[in-house]
């Protein structure tokens, strides 16, 4: 028998919070080493230009400056992208050749072209100002449709065009479907450039000595993957390359998953200078370089029958990937996955998706929460809304008609969805909104010149990505892995290879392991983030904590129980095995006679400190590593969100009166933590959909390089977010748990846009573009009125 404790499902306080609440968090900028120097970059002020001269003499001569390097000085390191660090996707891929610093030519504003190392950050900035760069500006291309034109300026002349990646994804017989359709909805949707932007910027600290090699403290979601790629690029063995995510990291949201040029330089400089080299990105650099995601145009068509059944979909997707110069994702892995996930929670049998990814003179797209799918989910859920309106159908009804009904489900393009319940989720959302009454209230409001609306979105959210998908896509494994090991005090260390940074692993993994071993979460401590002490793992990405890593910890803990039982039986001088014991309240208790019990701490002590007391022939120690791989090609949670709005048509301003999120966490480990993940995902979704936008002017200058211009919402800009659980345990994880939070922002833009359009029905407005700024809404109203 297992254990009789029940920590799983309890909203206990997080174990990581004590240090964070008193200022004892340990973030990258907090780490200081003897002889440390700091690194900073000279970045291009042009969107596209030849570098005709760089004069570093004055900067190099400034007291306190250790070195100044330009692209020519690092060319020998070689081009950054290798087979390992480029997605291995079906379709036609081109690969840019580039170095840690740009050589001869810069391709976006912010492109690093020289690096300065100085004794302190104040001196560093003095020196950066002294590097004199002469440019010869080149023609630029900023618009992805312009990028496709034959006469468009080229970022990579040897390519022959600006197409980075092209992929055609057909399924079923879309032509027949469109021939049979009673209604074809055809619309062009545009999602702007927006995304992650965590509160802690990127940073790293590289230290080198020839004995131990290179140690890199890095703000990263993927320490092992980074080590793998850094070692390859720097041509040093893994034994000489250690990557550590500091104990704490101030958010990532996808932006700390790629391998960046700056990180390569820190390593190179630490080796060259034999001094620890630190880099802390400033916010301007961050806004110029990372968190820029989404940015897609969808020309989407739906083939719909009179009864609302969607029988076919066509989509021409154009993604603006920027300069495509970051490793691992190279700007196009996101739009690819977004295309694969386009049909999402809908069951649409006939599909023709054509994805074109182009390069432009902007920063490379980086992953952002709702990886690649934010734009597509907006487009599809908007198109479904338009279909409902054309057929005079209720938006809930048309969604229920087309939602995945039976599980497991394999989508037309091959995405596996394991479990979920859309009707149940819609029922809860509608009940929370008092939907039927709301429609009455809405009609009355219209009579009185008020504009109230409600909008829904539905979809599946990735619950980790299995090896079956990740290996062919990214040459990386998807398994979850954890080592569970008792210490000599009877406490349990769980070592994971991921790098959690706010997701609450220290608590939720402690809860599940406590249950498996009959202990309290207080007895469990989770370590992570260090390639020299945790097992090789894919990283903290794609909601894989509660799905994969946590499941591995469960399996590893379970694997210890037979040995624990054997030791207990031996200590009790009885014949008994695992099934004869229950692990509860810190004891191994004999089920048939509960007075017979051994403290679990005693078992650990025997296994580690007094192995002479072990049963004859038993190996000492009490630890196990498990690799968890789900027996499916895809686990997902199925969710329904609804927004209720009031719009003020004179200004286009609106208020999100209510936001209701019905989410499926399978088996929540800590419901409070799950709610927090959903709140944060919705908040980022609202920020991205309504307020945030990376804006480039006609010269490719980025106009949103401070947080006064790139508007991450504050507490006054967001509504209260209501969360409702509708859990369907996954059949593929040991506890039924599902990952939660990564995909959440993708639910938001359609829910809010649908609500706005619903409110404005009497004015005949159609919303196709993001962000949903009041001015955009006002202009749509103006346009609709001038048509009448």
């Amino acid at each position: 028998m297992a254990s009789a404790n029940a920590w799983v499902g309890q909203s206990i306080k997080r174990k990581e919070d004590r240090r964070l609440l008193v200022g004892d968090g340990q973030y990258l900028p907090d780490i200081v080493l003897p002889r440390m120097v700091v690194m900073g970059f000279v970045r291009s002020i042009y969107a596209h230009a030849k570098i005709t001269a760089i004069d570093t003499a004055q900067a190099a001569a400034l007291p306190g400056v250790r070195t100044v390097l330009t692209g020519a000085d690092v060319k020998h390191l070689g081009s950054v992208l290798s087979d390992m660090s480029t997605p291995n996707l079906p379709g036609e891929t081109k690969r840019p050749i580039f170095w840690p610093l740009s050589i001869d030519e810069v391709k976006y504003v912010g492109d690093p072209l020289a690096v300065v190392v100085a004794r302190d950050k104040y001196t560093l900035e003095d020196a950066l100002e002294l590097v004199d760069v002469e440019y010869d500006p080149l023609d630029i291309v900023l618009d992805p449709e312009h990028a496709l034109q034959p006469d468009a300026p080229r970022l990579y002349p040897d390519w022959g065009d600006n197409v980075l990646y092209h992929q055609h994804i057909p399924a079923g017989d879309p032509d027949a479907a469109f021939a049979q359709a009673d209604l074809v909805v055809k619309e062009r949707f545009r999602c702007h450039r927006t995304g992650g932007q965590p509160m802690e910027t990127r940073g790293c600290l590289a230290m080198y000595n020839p004995g131990e090699g290179l140690t890199l403290w890095l703000t990263t979601q993927r320490p092992h993957i980074k080590r793998h790629l850094l070692a390859e690029y720097l041509n040093i063995p893994h034994s000489q390359m250690r990557v550590i995510m500091p104990k704490d990291m101030g958010g990532a949201f996808g932006t700390k998953a790629p391998l960046y040029r700056e990180e390569l330089l820190a390593c190179h400089l630490a080796m060259k200078l034999r001094r620890p080299v630190k880099w802390v990105e400033n916010r301007q650099e961050s806004l110029m370089n990372v968190g820029q995601g989404r940015d897609q145009i969808h020309e989407l068509e739906l083939a719909v029958k009179k009864d609302g059944t969607i029988i076919g979909l066509r989509d021409r997707i154009l993604a603006d990937c920027g300069d495509a110069r970051t490793a691992i994702y190279v700007g196009f892995a996101m739009p690819f996955l977004g295309a694969m996930y386009l049909i999402n929670g809908y069951d649409i049998p006939n599909v023709d998706i054509d994805l074109t990814c182009v390069v432009t003179n902007k920063a490379c797209l980086t992953p952002s929460r709702a990886f690649g799918s934010f734009a597509g989910r907006f487009a599809l859920d908007r198109a479904v809304e338009l279909a409902a309106r054309a057929l005079d159908m209720d938006p809930v009804e048309i969604r229920l008609k087309n939602a995945i009904k039976t599980f497991p489900h394999v989508s037309a393009v091959g995405v596996h969805v394991d479990s979920g319940d859309f009707p149940g989720s819609f029922a809860k959302a509608c009940a929370a909104l008092d939907y039927d009454n709301f429609r009455k209230e809405q009609s009355e409001a219209w009579q009185n010149g008020r504009y109230l609306g409600v909008g829904f979105s539905m979809g599946v959210e990735i619950s980790g990505v299995p090896s079956e998908v990740l290996v062919p896509m990214e040459r990386q494994p998807g398994f979850g892995v954890a080592t569970v090991q008792f210490d000599a005090h009877g406490k349990v260390q769980v070592a994971e290879g991921d790098s959690p940074h706010g997701q609450g692993h220290e608590t939720t993994i402690a809860q599940v392991v406590a249950d498996e071993l009959g202990l309290s979460p207080e007895d469990i401590y989770v370590t992570y983030g260090d390639t020299h002490s945790g097992p090789f793992a894919a990283g903290t990405i794609g909601s894989r904590g509660a799905s994969y890593t946590l499941s591995a910890a469960v399996l590893a803990a379970r694997a210890l129980r037979p040995k624990m039982a054997n030791i207990a039986a031996h200590l009790l001088h009885i014949e008994a095995g695992e099934d004869d014991f229950v692990f509860r309240d810190g004891y191994a208790i004999l089920i048939r006679d509960e007075s017979q019990r051994v403290p679990i701490a005693k078992i650990a002590e025997v296994a580690l400190l007094s192995p002479t007391e072990l049963p004859p022939g038993m190996e000492a120690g009490l630890e196990h590593t498990s690799h968890f791989e789900a027996e499916t090609a895809g686990m997902h949670s199925c969710n329904v969100h609804a927004a209720q709005v009031e719009v003020f048509p004179e200004t286009g301003e609106y208020k999100i009166v209510r936001y209701v999120a019905v989410d499926d966490a399978g088996q929540p480990i800590n419901p409070m933590v799950v709610r927090g993940q959903i709140h944060g995902g919705v908040a980022m979704g609202i920020g991205n959909a309504c307020m945030e936008e990376f804006i480039y002017d006609e010269n490719g200058q980025q106009l949103t390089t401070t947080l006064l211009d790139y508007h991450i919402p504050s507490s006054l800009d967001l509504p209260h977010i209501e969360t409702i659980e509708h859990n369907v345990p996954s059949p593929h994880t040991p506890l039924g748990s599902k990952g939660k939070g990564e995909g959440t922002p993708g639910m938001v833009p359609a829910a809010v846009a649908n609500a706005l359009e619903d409110a404005l029905q009497p004015l005949g407005v159609k919303i196709t573009d993001l962000p949903l700024t009041p001015e955009r809404i006002w202009k749509l109203i103006q346009a609709a009125q001038s048509k009448e």
Partner: protein, 168 residues
């Protein structure tokens, strides 16, 4: 270019000779070594992660020169708890899961420390009090709950206890 100053941080006097351009936040983090105060926006202070209490008022330490705080009293996140007892606002954040990555948390706690001395109760007022610090993880929902929890705690304190928690 350099100047000798003395700043009292969490009751301890730090007397140092510093560059006149040194930001107060760097004095706190790098001279005093109190790294709980964070920097998130580099320029204009919008993120608020560097918020500290300067002579009783919550301010952004990245928008002050260290020399301006000569002779002043600064309270940082490290000075909020009393030995092992957490301040009511810290406790509220813990109880209600008001933090995830924790990076903005010190700034929020210090901004709310000032608010809690004379707390108001509406959601709007609570949200206004925390609007000077941007959180990217929580969507603020649990933070509002955390503040309400803290208000209840603070209002149940005896005058003496209240004085102890707020008279740094």
């Amino acid at each position: 270019m350099k100047r000798s100053i003395g700043i009292t941080i969490n009751g301890e006097v730090y007397e140092e000779t510093v560059d006149q351009r040194l930001l107060l936040v760097d004095f706190i983090r790098e001279v005093a070594g109190l790294t709980g105060t964070h920097v998130g926006c580099s320029v204009e202070g919008r993120c608020g992660a560097c918020t500290v209490v300067l002579n009783g008022k919550a301010v952004k330490a990245c928008l002050l020169l260290a020399v301006q705080a000569d002779g002043a009293s600064v309270l940082t996140i490290e000075g909020l708890a009393r030995d092992d007892a957490l301040h009511p606002i810290q406790d509220g954040f813990w109880e209600k899961h008001g933090l995830q990555c924790g990076f903005c948390t010190p700034g929020l706690l210090m901004a709310l420390y000032e608010f809690l001395q004379n707390p108001k109760h509406s959601d709007e007022e609570i949200r206004t009090a925390m609007s000077g610090v941007i959180c990217r993880c929580t969507g603020y929902v649990h933070i509002v709950e955390a503040v309400k929890h803290a208000i209840a705690t603070v209002e149940a304190l005896s005058p003496q206890e209240r004085k102890e928690w707020f008279n740094e």
